[in-house]
Symmetry: C2
Subunit: 458 residues, 2 copies
C-alpha cells in the first residue's frame, strides 16, 4: 500500500459544530445530539468505514464575541449547548472494537490528578483506544465559570500545560512498574507495593504527592493529540504530540506547519515520523459531481450566517458584527489572540477574504477546505492535499449528521481502498499501535514522557 | 403490595469492596474489575432482578492507616486500585433500560461547574437515571494528591458542601427555564437566550459567573444520595438527600438515624416520606440454610484478615495493627474522626466487639449485617430489619462478583415477589419517578433546590 491515509471524524457533543444552522435540515440528526443512540449509530458508521478515530472537540467557554454576548450562539445552536464528551467514550467503546477516541480536555480547568485517573479509566474501558486532545483554554467565560478571573495570557498557558504534562506523565508512566500488578490468587497479592511509587511534584502551578490510583492501562499515557498553531503551540506539539490537528484553508499554511513541527520535533530528539498530522477537511460527496453539487446547494439553504460569524468571531476574538460584508479581513487585526484570522489572511497568502466570503465559505466546514464532488474527485483532492502538504490524514468535518459520514463511508472509502491508500481492515492492538505500527502500545523512548519511567528492576 | 422493598447493588470500581481478599475465589470476577464486560454483565443481572440501582462507592484517598502505610491495601487489593466510577455509567446505561445509577463524587475535589455539566451529561445519556452520592472527603492522601495540604476539618467540609450544593442547584435548576430549549427547525432557534440566565455565585469557597452549558436533563438535578452519620452529616442529609445510605450492624442505630433524619427533614419543611433509607446488608443465599452456610464457609477461606483490618483502620482512623486480637474496641478511641468504631461500640449498645471479632465479622460485608440462609430466611431477615428500623431498602454488598448478586436475583427476588413486597416490574420514567411514584421527574417544591428555580414566565 502507498502511504496510508488516516481519517478521524471530527465532531462535538453539541447540536452543531462547524456547519452552523444545518441542524435545521430535515435529514440532520443533530437535534438529538443529547441522545446516546445518536452517537452509537455514528460510531458504528465510522467503524464500518474503518475510520481511525472519532475526534471530539470541547470547550466550556461561550461564543460571546459576536454582538458582545452569547445570544447568537445560543439562538443558532452554534456549539451550544455542549455536553461532556469524555462521557461518550465508554458507551461508544462498548459498541465498537477498533475505533479510537480523541477527547478534548483542558489543562486550564481539570485537576491533573483526577484527570489522569479519568483517562486511565477510559483507556481500560476502551482496551487501549483512548486519546487526549490537549488544549489550553482561551475563553474568559470559561475562566469565570471556574472562579478564575480571566484566562491566562497565552504563553503562560503553555507553561502551565508543560507542567501539567509533567504531572500526568509521572502518574501514567512513573508511578507503577510494569510488574507491580500481580492478580496472584495463590499468594493473595493483587499489586506489589514495592513496585508502586508516590510521585512528588512541586511546581509553579501544581503540587501533587500521590501514587496513581489506577493500575497501568494498555497504553499508559493515552494517545496525545494537539492543535496549537502559534510558535509556542508548535513547540508544545513538537515536544508532546503524537497526532497534530491543523485547520487552515491553504495548503501552504498546512505544509509550513507540518515541516516546522517536524523540524522542531527532530531538534528535540524525536523521530519526526512519530507525529501524524491530521488536517481539517469537509467532504460532500455524491455518485457524480452534479449530485454532490446539488447536495451542497441543498445544505446551503440551511446554513446560518449569524451562526457562522458567531463561531468565526469566537475563534478570532473579533466581533464581526461591527463590519460590513464587503470589508476585507486583512485590515482587521487582533494582536492578543492566536487569531484564526491568520488562517484566512496572513496565513492565506494566496488571496484576500471579505467578511461575506468568510461567512459563505466557513458556513460548511469552518476554517478547513470544503471538497465537493464524485468519489474520484474527492479522492483526488484528498491525495493532492496530503501530497502537497506532507500531512498524513484528515479530521473530517460534517455538513449533516450522519449523512456526511455515511456518504463518505459508502462512496469515498471504497475509492480510497481501490487506490491502495486506505486500510482494508483495522490492525490489531491499541490505538497507538494501530496508528504507529512500528511502535508498541506505549510511548517510544524518545518521547519526553519516557524520562519519567522507572528504571527496570534489578 | 405492602411497602415495597428498595434494593441497590453496592459496589466499587476496584478489585474488592467490603469483602477483602475474596477476589482470590476461583468463581469471583473481581480480577477483571477493569474490563467493561465485567460491569455490563453485572448490570444485566441487576436489571433482570429489577434492582432499583447500582450504587458505586468512590474515593481517591488511600487506606493508609493500618501499619502506617498503604502497603496492606495495595497488596491485598483492598479498594485498590480504584478507577473512576462515573465513566461506567454511560456504558451501563447503554445496555439497560431501567437500572438507576448512584455515583459517588466528592465536593472536596471536583469543581462544581464542571461537575454539574458532567452529571447533566450522565442524566441525558441515561435518560434520567443518574444519581449522585454526595460525599465530603476525609482522607489526607486525597488532599495531597490535589495539592491541598490536609483534608478540611469535619464541620468545615459540610459548610463547603452546602455551598457546593447551592452552586450546582443554581446551575441545574436556575440557569434554564423549562421553555428555553426549542429545537425549532422553522424559526432556526435552538435555544432561546431570553430563557437562559447566568448564575452569579460569590461565596466563601466558590465564585461562579456562568450559565449552565447543558440544557436541562430529564431530572435536572440528579437523584441525590447521601451517607453522613454525624449530627452535621444528618443535618445535611435532612436538607438535601432524597436517598440516605446507612451502614451499621445494629438495628437500633439504623432506627435512631432514620427517625432523627426524618425529624430533621420535617423541621426543614420537607415531607419525611420524600427520603428513602437504604441500609447496608450482605446476603449469602442458598436453596437451603445448609447450602448457604456451606457457601459462607467456602467464602471465608478466601477472606483476608489483613485486608479487612486495613479497611476498618481506614474507616476509623485507628491503626488496628497496634492492638492484640482480643482487645475490645470499646477502649480504642479516635476523637478526630467520624469514627465507625461508633458502628461497633458506642453505636452498637448491644455488645462489645474485639479486634478479632471485627476482622471476622467485617471480612464479608464490612460494617453491615451479614445474612446467610435459605430464600425464606433471608426474606424474613430483610423484612425484620426494615420493620424494626423504618428503613426502606438495602444497599446490598457482595461476597463474590457476580455470584452474590445472581444468587440473590435467582433465589431471593422471587421470594420477595411472592410475598408482595418487591416489584414485579419497573415503573416507567426517570430514576426519581421510579423511586417516588407520587413525585415527578424533578425535585419537589419542598426541596431546597427548588428555591433556585425561575419563576414561571409571565
Amino acid at each position: 500500500m502507498s502511504k496510508e491515509i488516516r481519517i478521524n471524524a471530527f465532531a462535538i457533543f453539541s447540536p452543531s459544530h462547524l456547519s452552523a444552522g444545518l441542524w435545521r435540515h430535515p435529514r440532520d440528526k443533530s437535534v438529538d445530539y443529547n441522545q446516546i443512540e445518536t452517537w452509537t449509530e455514528l460510531a458504528l458508521i465510522l467503524e464500518r468505514g474503518k475510520f481511525d478515530g472519532l475526534f471530539l472537540a470541547d470547550g466550556i467557554s461561550l461564543y460571546d464575541t459576536y454582538g458582545g454576548s452569547a445570544a447568537s450562539s445560543i439562538r443558532t445552536g452554534a456549539q451550544f449547548p455542549k455536553l461532556d464528551p469524555l462521557l461518550l467514550v465508554p458507551a461508544l467503546a462498548q459498541v465498537t472494537k477498533h475505533l479510537g477516541f480523541g477527547v478534548t480536555s483542558s489543562v486550564s480547568y481539570e485537576a491533573p490528578y483526577l484527570f489522569a485517573r479519568r483517562m486511565s479509566t477510559l483507556d481500560h474501558l476502551s482496551k487501549g483506544r483512548a486519546g487526549w486532545n490537549i488544549v489550553t483554554s482561551f475563553g474568559d467565560a470559561g475562566s469565570r465559570a471556574l472562579g478564575q478571573e480571566r484566562a491566562r495570557p497565552h504563553d503562560d498557558r503553555y507553561d502551565l500545560a508543560d507542567e501539567y504534562m509533567e504531572v500526568v506523565y509521572k502518574l501514567w508512566e512513573g508511578s507503577w512498574r510494569d510488574d507491580a500488578i500481580r492478580r496472584d490468587r495463590v499468594s493473595g497479592v493483587f499489586s506489589d507495593p514495592e513496585g508502586i511509587d508516590f510521585i512528588h511534584h512541586h511546581g509553579r502551578h501544581f503540587d501533587v504527592d500521590a501514587l496513581h490510583v489506577s493500575e497501568p492501562s494498555p497504553q499508559r499515557t493515552p494517545l496525545l493529540y494537539q492543535a496549537g498553531a502559534s510558535a509556542r503551540g508548535r513547540d508544545f506539539s513538537a515536544r508532546h504530540a503524537e497526532c497534530v490537528f491543523l485547520s487552515a484553508p491553504s495548503k501552504r499554511v498546512i505544509r509550513d506547519t507540518v515541516s516546522d513541527v517536524r523540524r522542531r520535533a527532530a531538534a528535540l530528539g524525536r523521530n519526526p515520523g512519530d507525529i501524524l498530522f491530521f488536517m481539517l477537511m469537509t467532504v460532500i460527496v455524491g455518485r457524480t459531481d452534479e449530485e454532490a453539487q446539488a447536495k451542497l446547494a441543498d445544505y446551503r439553504r440551511y446554513a446560518s450566517e449569524e451562526g457562522t460569524l458567531t463561531l468565526f468571531s469566537g475563534w478570532t476574538g473579533i466581533d464581526l458584527s461591527q463590519y460590513r460584508p464587503e470589508d476585507p479581513l486583512s485590515y482587521i487585526k487582533n494582536e492578543g489572540m492566536q487569531s484564526t484570522i491568520e488562517g484566512f489572511t496572513i496565513a492565506d497568502p494566496d488571496r484576500v477574504w471579505t467578511v461575506r466570503e468568510v461567512a459563505e465559505h466557513a458556513a460548511i466546514g469552518g476554517k478547513g477546505p470544503l471538497v465537493v464532488g464524485s468519489p474520484a474527485r474527492v479522492a483526488d483532492e484528498m491525495q493532492a492535499w496530503l501530497q502537497e502538504t506532507g500531512a498524513d490524514g484528515f479530521n473530517l468535518g460534517y455538513a449533516l449528521m450522519h449523512e456526511s459520514f455515511s456518504d463518505f463511508v459508502d462512496l469515498v472509502v471504497p475509492e480510497l481502498q481501490r487506490r491502495g491508500v486506505y486500510k482494508q481492515d483495522y490492525r490489531p492492538g491499541t490505538l497507538r499501535e494501530k496508528l504507529f505500527p512500528a511502535l508498541g502500545a506505549k510511548l517510544p523512548a524518545s518521547h519526553p514522557a519516557a524520562a519519567f519511567r522507572h528504571a527496570p528492576r534489578e
